[in-house]
Amino acid sequence: MSQTLENRAKPDAKTQLDIYRRMIRIERNDDATRTQIRRGRITAPYYSARGQECIPSAISVLLNDDDKICTIYRGIHDMVAKDMPLRPLWAEICGRVDGTCKGKGGPMHLTHPETGVMVTTGIVGSSMPIANGFGWAALLDGTKQVTVAYFGDGASNIGAFHEALNLASVWKLPVIFVCQNNGFAEHTRYENGTSVDLISKRAIGYGMPGYTVDGNDPVDVYAHAHAAIERARAGEGPTLLECKTFRFMGHVFGDADGYMTKEEKAEAIARDPLPIYRQKLIDDGVATAEELDALTAKIEAEVNDAIEFAMACEYPSDDELRRDVFAEEIPA
């Protein structure tokens, strides 16, 4: 059975607003990306995380700049939540030389160490073994740094998941394994590909705490992430956090959604975490509608600035093919 958490930490008003800021930043950025793809200004495979905004937002407020994340192809929301600057992010999505990776990684392989975005991988399940290495380095360095490995529900069926959780537990690594369970592994329904009803149950087999939380509830995600991060910083080892959510835009942007019913999609969208959280903040007196609107406007301006910056950037020169294969440039 999935474990239950006692002594739940609660985000204060400032933190609640910060979670909301990150969620809106993700949503506005995602919306803009889809718009630019539709308009033909960007050609790229895009894996929208619309609907999953709450998870990395409620976790990132607990992370420092030097805490690390290893994420996946559907992970731009994780980077935006970690406050990666949008200009280099957009330049990378557009394949420009001013991108985080000089246009050589693209939307599935962003890296930005300054904000702790260490690895973004297009291979399902592979964020976790590498996160362990950062955890080992943190133990050797004697810092309290933690590493968050983000992955989807499909990744929990990959061998790397099992190897990584076992090793992290044996070595007591400061790693938090965060499964963003959106109910589908590519086009395959959760129950057709996964042997347990809750992924958090798999933690039992690896001797670590495992929690299933409402991935659309910032307070629930925050409380469990808080416990996991505290545990990691205290040297007590890893935690598996399963955050249940839904992806509104299918697997890859533009896919036909034929594998889900209209009803379940409509029902999920009706539980869109953004308007619900916004209303809660207003009801609780954390912020006024006007203040939240002003925040959205500010973020929209930031996104628009990033898009125009990226579009004005140069493409990388062909010389880049010979660079960064090794530290030393390879001869022409």
Binding site: C70, G99, T100, C101, K102, G103, K104, G105, H109, T111, H112, P113, M118, V119, T121, I123, S126, M128, P129, I130, A131, N132, G133, F134, G135, W136, A137, A138, L139, L140, D141, T147, G159, A160, E163, A164, N166, L167, V170, W171, R323, D324, V325, F326, A327, I330
Partner: protein, 340 residues
Amino acid sequence: MSTETLEAPAVETVKMNGLQAINAALMEAMEADPKVLVLGEDIADNEGGGVVGVTRGLSTKFGTMRVRSTPISEQAIIGAAIGAAMGGYKPVAEIMLMNFTTVAMDMIVNHAAKLRFMSGGQSQVPMVIRTLTGAGNQTAGQHADFYEAWFCHTAGIKVVIPWTPADFKGLYLSAIQDPDPVIIVESGKTLFVPMDVPVNQGPIPLGKANVVAPGSDITIVSYGQMMFTVMQAYEELTKAGVSVEVIDLRTISPWDKETVLASAEKTGRLLVVHEAGRNFGPGAEIAATVQETLFGKLKAPVGRLGAPYCSVPFAKKLEDAFLVQPPEIVAEAQRLIAMS
């Protein structure tokens, strides 16, 4: 100028085998640099110090935080090495046998080899993968293959296959300090045959071949434990009056084109010998490069000897037939010489 100054100073040497040389290199590197780490299955002293004892004594000296035995989890081993390398350390990860690198192929080729490029140079993955292989010990199909061609074909990872204990020491010292991922293959006999190693053997640069013997009729290029076989053939050819230039490639990727091309141009004939399969093997790349560059200057087509298109067999008789033997090298060299 007196003649004394022209002579190389007498180098003090000590006899040791490959595994002692690697152990010495690891010991020295870990002593000199606290960032050097070692991980792998059974490698700490509690677990026996490695399956053939290469890492013996390291955990006792440096502790089990720096010398970590792992579960049998090849993806987890390489993943942890990648993360630690990106986190500022220099991990040396052991994958017990080269056949088991297949279990960690995603981590090696999609991540270790590519992270520098895909990150536009932000990520450094300064790690070494140690692995052991080689036919000749009747371990059959899943414990003895040479897969260097796979790794050579993947941009971003260096591939080193030493022969002598001195080279093991020197190449390890370089690989550990190299800013990029390096896979070092320890092949069968190379670990167990004692040879002279300079007492103060320092780093040997990666990517540089070693001209083991000078000659003028034909160049033979090889590496790893196949060098023992090549040297037997060399002696027979020498007795038969053939002047053979022998090159130990040492680093398979990036390989030392300059040295090989200069030698092939000089002798006009080249034979590449390796234990890996002949089909699509490293010899194909070397042969193609030499022929593209030296067409018209060669006296014969470039020859290639490698394993037949089958798995490593168990029966001793079949295993002997699988491995390139000295008489085949002698015959092929003589055939190439007879062509002109």
